[in-house]
């Protein structure tokens, strides 16, 4: 085995030197080091595509052998030469590529950030006004570890409804988080700490970062069926079967509305059935709600799944993001809430969530939370917000209709009903990876390779071009 030969070698060598040599580059080392080379080549390859982790292990092994050999060596390569370049993030890498493209007709339907009909990013009026009010008048002291209490109180009222029993009973533990990602990560770490044997069930497919989050939290994950490629809708029976077969007390990650990336949501009836089955199985429902208001245009309607589960007595957790529905992306504003049995329990849970946040970032950023609090606490601003979020949702719905209309007009033989059936920012087009690559290469249309189109990037100006491109690669 290559590694073993290197370990027994007495010549101190850094991994980088070994890699350099095995790739055939000229090496100016002594003959002793050539022995290493031969052993490596004979014993098998050291895979150049080592992931960071494995490379680190190999690097550690080699470094340990160096120490054991007791020889001093002047490492010109330093500590990090074994670090391989990480693959581009599948989602954020799309925008990077788009920005680098100089083609005049390029279209970015990659990352889920809202664009107006001119293809420009938008700052909501209610946000601008809130910022105007905030500027110059606040201090910038540290928030508590759990973030702004005012903010979290407004956030959970939005999530659960103003009159929710759980709120009146004061048994919701809530902390401000770094947007939706931070809420998921905080919960995953909490789950690991307090339910270390538990599993998390993640839908197929889901936002790719969900897997990274639970992996880094070291929580074992399983998958459950969700999307049916045949119908481009919900695989309801598959979902129910997987929920039934999961060990009792499993944790399930559910998208509250506007499932990312498919845009496929259960109906109200289906949510009720899912909730009943969860009760029988004693499963724990964790809702990721990144699009409240954005899906249907109505925040109450978009929260229906959460209300169904809550009214059925489930003690759910919910991660909220204000990135999309308030356009606050870069401000990183979110909230994690956990419904508990009693007020005391909610105090305990909150205190433990804070313990996880403290060695991660101490306390969350102030600015975005202030904006949200200002908006949600002022009836006029709140009304304006509801209006603006409905406008965004309506524009997306109209783009769905336009895209489908254009595809059908072009005479596409495929069924494009899912374009208008699906909801929220994304359309799971059903295009294959090869078709996506063609879309990018030939038409300069940028989207993620799973065929997910961000409808927010579609405009009256580019919808025909986009429909034509999609038709060309799929006919």
């Amino acid at each position: 085995m290559a590694l073993k030969s290197v370990l027994t070698c007495r010549t101190p060598f850094t991994l980088s030197k070994v890699l350099e040599v095995s790739s055939g580059e000229r090496c100016q080392s002594t003959s002793a080091s050539n022995i290493v080379v031969q052993k490596v080549e004979r014993g098998g390859r050291i895979d150049r595509k080592l992931e960071g982790g494995r490379a680190a292990m190999a690097g550690r092994a080699i470094a340990r052998s160096n120490m054991r050999a007791g020889k001093r060596f002047m490492s010109t390569a330093g500590w990090w030469s074994h670090v391989t370049p990480a693959p581009r993030d599948p989602i954020l890498g799309v925008t990077e590529a788009f920005l680098a493209d100089t083609h005049p007709s390029k279209v970015n339907v990659g990352v889920g950030a809202y664009r107006n009909d001119k293809g420009k990013p938008v700052v909501l009026q209610c946000v601008r006004e809130a910022e105007r009010r905030i500027a110059g008048s606040k201090f910038m002291e540290y928030l508590p570890m759990g973030g702004s209490v005012k903010f979290t109180e407004f956030a959970i009222r939005l999530a659960y409804g103003d009159e929710a029993d759980v709120l009146n009973d004061k048994r919701v533990a809530s902390v401000q988080t770094l947007s939706g990602t931070g809420a998921c990560r905080l919960f995953a770490d909490f789950q690991k700490r307090f339910k270390p044997e538990s599993l998390v069930y993640i839908p197929i497919p889901t936002w790719s970062n969900h897997h990274n989050i639970w992996r880094d939290a070291r929580v074992e994950s399983r998958l459950f069926r969700y999307y049916d490629p045949a119908t481009k809708g919900l695989d309801f029976s598959g979902l129910m079967e997987d929920v039934k077969n999961a060990p009792s007390g499993s944790f399930f990650l559910l998208h509250a509305c506007a499932h990312n990336p498919t845009g496929v949501d259960p109906s109200e009836e289906q949510w009720k059935e899912i909730s009943q089955l969860f009760k029988e199985k004693g499963h724990f429902p964790l809702f990721d709600m990144a699009y409240q208001g954005f899906a249907s245009g109505d925040t109450e309607k978009d929260g229906q799944a959460i209300r169904i589960f809550m009214n059925d007595g489930h003690q759910i957790a919910c991660g909220q993001s204000f990135a999309k529905n308030m356009g606050l992306y870069g401000q990183r504003v979110g909230c994690l809430s956990v419904i508990c049995s009693t007020p005391q329990e909610s105090v305990a849970v909150k205190s433990q969530l804070q313990q996880i946040a403290r060695p991660m970032y101490s306390n969350p950023p102030l600015h975005g939370a202030e904006i949200v609090s200002t908006i949600l606490s002022d009836p006029e601003l709140k009304d304006l917000w509801h209006k603006e979020v409905k406008e965004m949702a309506d524009r997306i719905i109209s783009m769905r209709e336009a895209l489908r209309f254009n595809l059908e007009k072009l005479g596409s033989k495929l069924n494009w009903q899912h374009v208008t059936d699906q909801i929220g920012m994304f359309c799971y087009s059903g295009l294959t990876e090869e078709q996506v690559d063609r879309l990018t290469r030939e038409f300069h249309v940028y989207l993620t390779r799973n065929g997910r189109i961000s409808m927010a990037g579609v405009t009256t100006g580019n919808v025909e071009y986009l429909a034509n491109a999609v038709h060309e690669v799929s006919k």
Partner: protein, 453 residues
């Protein structure tokens, strides 16, 4: 666990459990019987988090919580290290206000996601600040920098990166150190050990002990170093001692990780406060540094900081940066935009930058004058002991040398709020409150030693 609601009505959870009881138990047993029920075939009835105990208050942030609760008209908060004016008020720097106004007025600005490693301009300027704009490491483009959530976030991202990619799991922290360091590194996946640092007898640096412990550490160990203004002691190595440490650390092939939370705040000079870090860059070696702009720009709550990793070569720095993204993405995706934009605006504008250095120096000078005033006040009361350490220690904090009992006494009798390790935040003092503190110290040091049984 089941309580009655107001006026004897059940809470909503009790109503639901009542309903469940009727479904599950044919004999219709009482609500009390339900509480005893363990996990049934249909899953747990109560909360899956019932066993979660309340966590203790954070020792540092808990001080301010206690201070706020105290109704006494005369109270002093010397707990958390946030700067206060002579009037005891928090401060927004003028340059920060100006930068904010510019940002607000610029209608072309959006709030889109930053890249995973943050605002590029901010990263460049932040690195220049700590390394110096002529730094060979920067000119040779071999520094990977990522914007992170202030000092805490930068340390945590660094720790997780090291746990994944560095061969040595051990990190050595000074004894004592900032309370949060330990958990940051252990939660990040590393094994924490300590090296001697503070000498309670001299209330200064235990240089000999520090050297011995660092020398004894297994080769390649991570060594956490406070770049300046050590927290909580205020005790820093002299330039000569720094040079000795540098040689030792390089000879042992240890990897230094600097925590720079007070650049400019310690001496009043940004360059002087960066000398230790720069000397480690000048020898061509590698290192990590976490920077915070919480104190020196007063941006506390906006969470602005950066992690820089100095590598041997540009290509390596590029790979390292890409791997940092994999650590950051599942933690919070990308950092907050507001604070970093303010910092970039200030550091990137020569007028604002110059104005900032003046405001920074004023803050540092006020703290130094508080040290002098406190020292004089203690001398004037004839409090026994050598209190020159108050003058010698540097930065926001002073390790008074008071013990837990003395601190508790001062809190109870004099409403002085400070951490139980005897650390006081000089920034929380003013000319008005110095006499009160001196009285409290005097009473604690003299009174207690008489009255103890």
């Amino acid at each position: 666990m089941m309580e009655e609601g107001r006026k004897g009505r059940y809470t909503s959870s009790e109503r639901r459990l009542q309903a469940l009881v009727q479904h599950l138990s044919p004999s219709g047993s009482s609500l009390a019987g339900v509480v005893q029920m363990e996990v049934t075939a249909s899953g747990p009835v109560g909360s899956v988090f019932e066993h979660v105990e309340q966590a203790p208050e954070d020792p540092i942030l808990g001080v301010t919580v206690a201070y706020n609760k105290d109704p006494s008209p005369i109270k002093v908060n010397l707990g958390v290290g946030a700067y206060r004016t002579e009037e005891g008020k928090p401060v927004i720097l003028n340059v920060v206000r100006k930068a904010e106004e510019r940002l607000l007025a610029d209608r072309s600005r959006y709030k889109e996601y930053l890249p995973i490693t943050g605002l590029a301009d901010f990263n460049k300027l932040s690195a220049k600040l700590i390394f110096g704009k002529e730094s060979p490491a920067l000119l040779e483009k071999r520094v990977a920098t990522a914007q992170c959530l202030s000092g805490t976030g930068s340390l945590r991202v660094g720790a997780e990166f090291l746990a994944k990619h560095y061969f040595q799991r051990l990190v050595f922290l000074p004894a004592p150190t900032w309370g949060n360091h330990h958990k940051i590194f252990s939660n990040g996946g590393l094994t924490v050990k300590t090296y001697r640092y503070y000498d309670p007898r001299t209330r200064g640096l235990d240089y000999q002990g520090m050297v011995e412990d660092i020398r004894a550490a297994p080769s390649g160990s991570l060594i956490l170093l406070h770049a300046c203004a050590h927290n909580p002691t205020g005790v820093d190595p002299t330039p000569e001692q720094w040079e000795g440490l540098r040689q030792l650390i390089r000879n042992k092939r240890h990897l230094p990780f600097f925590d720079s939370a007070y650049q400019g705040f310690a001496s009043g000079s940004l360059d002087l406060d960066a000398l230790a870090v720069r000397s480690f860059v000048a020898d061509g070696g590698e290192l990590l540094v976490a920077q915070s702009f919480a104190k020196n720009m007063g941006l506390y709550g906006e969470r602005v900081g950066s992690l820089s990793i100095v590598c041997k070569k540009e290509a390596i720095a590029t790979h390292v940066e890409s791997q940092l993204k994999l650590v950051i993405r599942p933690m919070y995706s990308n950092p907050p935009i507001h604070g970093a934009s303010i910092v970039a605006t200030i550091l990137g504008d020569s007028e604002l930058y110059a104005e900032w250095t003046i405001e920074l120096k004023a803050m540092a000078n006020r703290i130094i004058s508080m040290r002098h005033q406190l020292h004089s006040a203690i001398q004037a009361r004839g409090t026994p002991g050598d209190w020159t350490h108050i003058l010698k220690q540097i930065g926001m904090f002073s390790f008074t040398g008071l013990n837990r009992e003395q601190v508790a006494f001062m809190t109870k009798e004099y409403h002085i709020y400070m951490t139980s390790d005897g650390r006081i935040s000089m920034a929380g003092l003013s000319s008005k409150t110095v006499p009160h503190l001196a009285d409290a110290i005097h009473a604690a040091v003299t009174g207690l030693s008489f009255s103890r049984q």
